[in-house]
């Protein structure tokens, strides 16, 4: 695509980068049918290439972005399905982040909108505050009908039950001989919503010979503010993490920085791009999803495998952002579960960080669509690898969704995932530890 930036505009490295990205888009349109919002609305401005055009227009013109542009860019999930399908590999993730930052800096949203965004950006990355906010929100729920629509939608998304467990800096020693020393991103919102994910992760890693460190000074990865265009705040969180883990790595050595919230993992692997420092690049290179590390170590033989039928939902940040697709499936199979793919797995569930809070209608349409696909597979258990998806799917499925690590922990000696307590499960099928061979019993074959 041709662009028309002035030399003065191109002197800004951020614009220069955007220009390079914009020029790679040639409007083939493979992205359109892979984009959830385009498929729902069939509005070209709700497609990736449409948004790329809007971004080009916005950045070239400079000044205040048109409200229409902001509307359509706000509706982007940043699911990155478009990047998976793009034939020319347009670097959309960095372009949309640049656009969001530009909007944040140059566009004055309505007061209520600004207040809500500021509130989310301040509260969500701080788990204790988020925990308190959820408690306050629950108290406010009876008065929801009297509240503005957006606030009402937000209150309705507070899960009825949360099991917070906010971890302090600590080291959890490996069981038996130590194979690796790894840092765990304890995270922010996840700790306030579901403390068992970290607990299961730590048990699982200890059981597989890892010392697990919650490094002093590490916290929110910065992803939530970054995707709201608050790049400066995101960089602050990212820098704090880079400092904390670099310090720890220098003092004790780190084999990996493990993430169990895949949205965070995508951002952390890209710290080098966000901060442009060698330390940030090193932290990015050390970062891996928990399933990548476990797959590398090899899952221990499950002492008590249970052949439940598990529908595995791919978080977009894993399948599109990090291309971690086979590892969780392989681990769940190795743990004895039957893994079933969900139709239309390339589509987002509508969670997308703060998206379901800021764009509740689109998020609901996607949540219901995904829930119907999951239900169609008749699973015993639904699993995924990101707290946002867990919350969103739980809401539209009306039943608990567990994290992959909770099932792996359970299969290798840990407790039943709390979300499954009291949930009637059928008698599990005969355990199958090999990758499923389709149609082994079909007709002639």
């Amino acid at each position: 695509m041709r662009t028309n930036f002035t030399a003065a505009q191109l002197a800004d490295p951020a614009i220069a980068e955007a220009d390079q990205i914009l020029q790679t888009c040639v409007h083939y349109g493979f992205c359109t049918n892979a984009c959830p919002t385009y498929v729902l609305t069939r509005d070209e401005n709700d497609s990736p290439r449409g948004r790329i055009d809007l971004i080009r227009g916005m950045l070239e013109a400079g000044g205040t972005p048109p409200a229409k542009t902001v509307h359509h860019l706000d509706r982007c999930l940043s699911c990155l399905s478009c990047m998976t399908t793009c034939a020319v590999k347009v670097d959309y993730v960095h372009l949309i982040d640049r656009a969001r930052t530009y909007i944040e800096q140059h566009y004055r949203r309505p007061v209520a909108d600004r207040a809500m965004r500021a509130l989310l950006a301040f509260v969500l990355p701080r788990p204790r505050l988020f925990q308190a906010a959820m408690q306050a929100g629950r108290l406010a729920q009876p008065f929801a009908p009297a509240l503005p629509k957006r606030l009402r939608a937000m209150l309705s998304m507070i899960p009825a039950q949360a099991s917070p467990d906010i971890l302090a800096p600590d080291t959890y020693p490996a069981e038996g001989a130590r194979k690796k020393r790894v840092a765990l991103l304890a995270g922010c919102a996840q700790q306030a919503l579901n403390g068992n994910i970290n607990a299961a992760t730590i048990r699982l890693l200890q059981r597989h010979g890892c010392d697990v460190v919650i490094a002093n000074g590490s916290g929110c990865c910065g992803s939530l503010p970054l995707h709201m265009g608050r790049e400066h705040e995101a960089k602050g969180f990212a820098q704090a993490n880079v400092d904390a883990w670099s310090r720890d790595a220098a003092e004790h050595g780190l084999d990996a920085i493990v993430v169990n919230a895949s949205g965070c993992g995508t951002t952390m692997k890209d710290y080098g791009h966000l901060l442009h420092t060698d330390k940030a690049k090193s932290v990015g290179a050390l970062t891996c999803d928990i399933t990548e590390l476990l797959n590398h170590i090899g899952l221990m033989t499950p002492p008590n495998p249970r052949g439940y039928r598990v529908a595995y939902h791919d978080p977009c940040s894993m399948q599109h952002g990090q291309k971690v697709i086979d590892e969780p499936r392989a681990l769940l199979r190795a743990a004895g579960f039957q893994v079933v793919d969900v139709p239309e797995r390339h589509f987002c569930c509508g969670s997308a960080g703060t998206y379901n809070l800021l764009q509740p209608e689109m998020a609901e349409a996607l949540g219901q669509r995904k829930a119907a696909h999951i239900e169609s597979t008749a699973p015993d258990i639904v699993a995924t690898g990101n707290i946002g998806c867990m919350t969103q799917l739980g809401r539209y499925l009306g039943k608990p969704v567990v994290h992959t690590v909770e099932l792996l922990d359970w299969a290798t000696g840990g407790p039943l995932p709390p979300a499954l307590e009291g949930v009637p499960l059928p008698e599990p099928s005969v355990v199958q530890t090999q990758a499923a061979q389709p149609a082994a019993d079909a007709g002639f074959w």
Partner: protein, 503 residues
């Protein structure tokens, strides 16, 4: 009488609802875009029917208001016209938005029935959800492409069910006059259709073929036969070092297909067809074709040859196929020039993984990368065929390679080989933002089309820019027959006038 677009769109909105019509500027711009040298073709509007009855409403309104329609299904049709209409100012009938239901899957008789918007990915997902007992032959194009549009354009895949039109059975069509036609055994005047999607040849003429590469109707439903999914797929691959090895490759492939010992088609791809997907040309800008040294470097980097052969066996497990793999290996290795790449190695080579996916009925994206070989987003496909005679195939290679070279393009081709015939998928990638290069791409295509027609060889699927030119290459009797059928089934010429040259 001239077209009354406002009256047409008003009628459609009144009858089908306000969201059945889209005339926004962005939509019209994007639906007019394509990758061909001839430029974009902005439509007059886009309409979205939700059912066969709504398609009938649209076609009848088009007849009443003399409005030309151009139906599209799903996918991208890249290099062949994208979603552009035959000419600017036609109304796109986008069947993909709402008519995207899988209407039936018959597990016992192994067929599915779909609407135009159903994608390869959607069918594959549904078959896997049902236990993965069956598979659909797919293209190596995008997963969001669909079987109905592909079959109607005579597209193909690579498994024993490769012939997408041949393995389709039973259509529902809204003709240009607004009437509905059921083909095959669906033509019986009954509410209870037993063999619509299991038999095509019972009584009367076989009408299905009329709706391929034509403009006589809008197909709204189609059945496709499904193949039992084999528990194991074992691919094999051979590389050959020299361009002229194509002659021997074709000779080696033919008996294996003639006997059907190898159940898949052979993918015989040249170096650039495989390596172009992994990056952009380092010599772009020279105005010339990629140098021999450049090609050699790519081959060495990717461990591939001037020609690369892929095929596969199906079986209950790996061990059962080992003797067959050995026979094929012995057969190819006797040439003394072949290098063998086994299934496991090929799985780690992305460009060969594309072949494995295609043989396995798995939609995948890998091959699309070759579209970025040059910047600027231009590409057109030239699809002549060659008999499976090594000497002739090699002559055609020389002919095409020279024309590519004469025009400064990079010879990029895959021959998809059956027993008697191979379709040559030639892609011309060019910088569409460079007017001079676009002009050269156009000249290159036309030169090849003429050279092949002069030798009595026709193309298959063709880019929209060249439909008139190719139609003019047909014999007068063919042209008269096509025109007469058009007049009979679409007397006002409202459906895709100009598509495949039929006015």
């Amino acid at each position: 009488m001239s077209a009354n677009f406002d009256a047409f769109f008003n009628e459609i909105q009144a009858k089908l609802g306000p969201d059945a019509v889209n005339r926004s500027d962005e939509t019209l711009t994007r639906y007019g875009e394509n990758t061909m040298p001839g430029g974009d073709r902005r439509p007059a509007g886009v309409v979205y029917p939700a059912s066969t009855a709504e398609v009938q409403t649209i076609v009848r309104a088009a007849n009443a208001h003399k409005v030309p329609l151009y139906p599209v299904s799903t996918g991208n049709n890249i290099g062949l016209g994208s979603r552009s209409a035959s000419t600017a100012g036609q109304v796109i009938v986008d069947l993909g938005r709402k008519m995207n239901r899988i209407l039936e899957i018959n597990d016992r008789l192994a067929y599915c029935v779909v609407e135009p918007g159903v994608t390869y990915q959607a069918i594959t997902d549904e078959l896997m959800r049902r236990g993965g007992q069956l598979m659909l032959d797919v293209t190596s194009g995008p997963p969001q492409g669909g079987p109905l549009g592909n079959a109607l354009d005579k597209g193909a895949g690579y498994t024993p069910y490769f012939d997408h039109f041949g393995f389709a059975c039973g259509m529902e069509v809204v003709l240009g006059n607004g009437e509905v036609l059921r083909t095959g055994d669906g033509s019986i005047d009954s509410e209870h259709l037993v063999n619509w999607h299991t038999s095509k040849y019972s009584f009367g003429p076989i009408l299905d073929g009329l709706f391929t590469q034509s403009n006589y109707g809008i197909v709204t439903r189609m059945g496709f036969w499904l193949m039992p999914r084999p528990p194991a797929v074992q691919s094999f691959h051979f590389t050959f070092p020299d361009d002229d090895d194509l002659e021997e490759v074709i000779e080696l492939c033919r008996p294996l297909k003639m006997s059907n010992f190898v159940p898949t088609l052979f993918r015989v791809a040249n170096d650039l067809y495989l390596t172009a997907s992994e990056g952009q040309s380092k010599e772009y800008g020279s105005g010339k074709s990629l140098s021999d040294a450049g090609r050699r470097a790519l081959r060495e980097h990717f461990g591939l040859g001037a020609w690369n052969v892929s095929g596969a066996f199906y079986g209950p497990n790996e061990a059962a196929m080992a003797p067959m793999i050995q026979r094929v290996r012995d057969h190819f290795m006797k040439s003394g020039k072949a290098r063998y790449i086994d299934h496991e190695q090929a799985e780690s080579i992305p460009t060969l993984q594309v072949a494995i996916n295609a043989f396995s009925g798995t939609p995948s994206l890998g091959e699309l990368g070759l579209l970025k070989w040059r910047p600027g987003g231009g590409n057109i496909w030239f699809t002549p065929g060659t008999p499976m005679d090594g000497k002739i195939a090699n002559e055609f290679q020389h002919l095409c390679r020279k024309i590519y070279d004469d025009h400064g393009f990079d010879y990029t081709v895959m021959n998809v080989c059956g027993a008697r015939f191979a379709r040559g998928l030639h892609v011309i990638t060019f910088n569409r933002e460079d007017a001079g290069e676009s002009k050269r791409a156009d000249a290159c295509y036309r030169a090849m089309a003429k050279a092949f027609a002069d030798r009595g060889v026709f193309v298959g699927r063709a880019p929209l820019d060249y439909h008139d030119m190719h139609f003019a290459q047909t014999m007068p009797g063919f042209q008269q027959a096509c025109t007469a059928i058009k007049q009979a089934l679409d007397p006002n010429g409202v459906i895709a006038p100009g598509r495949y040259g039929i006015a």
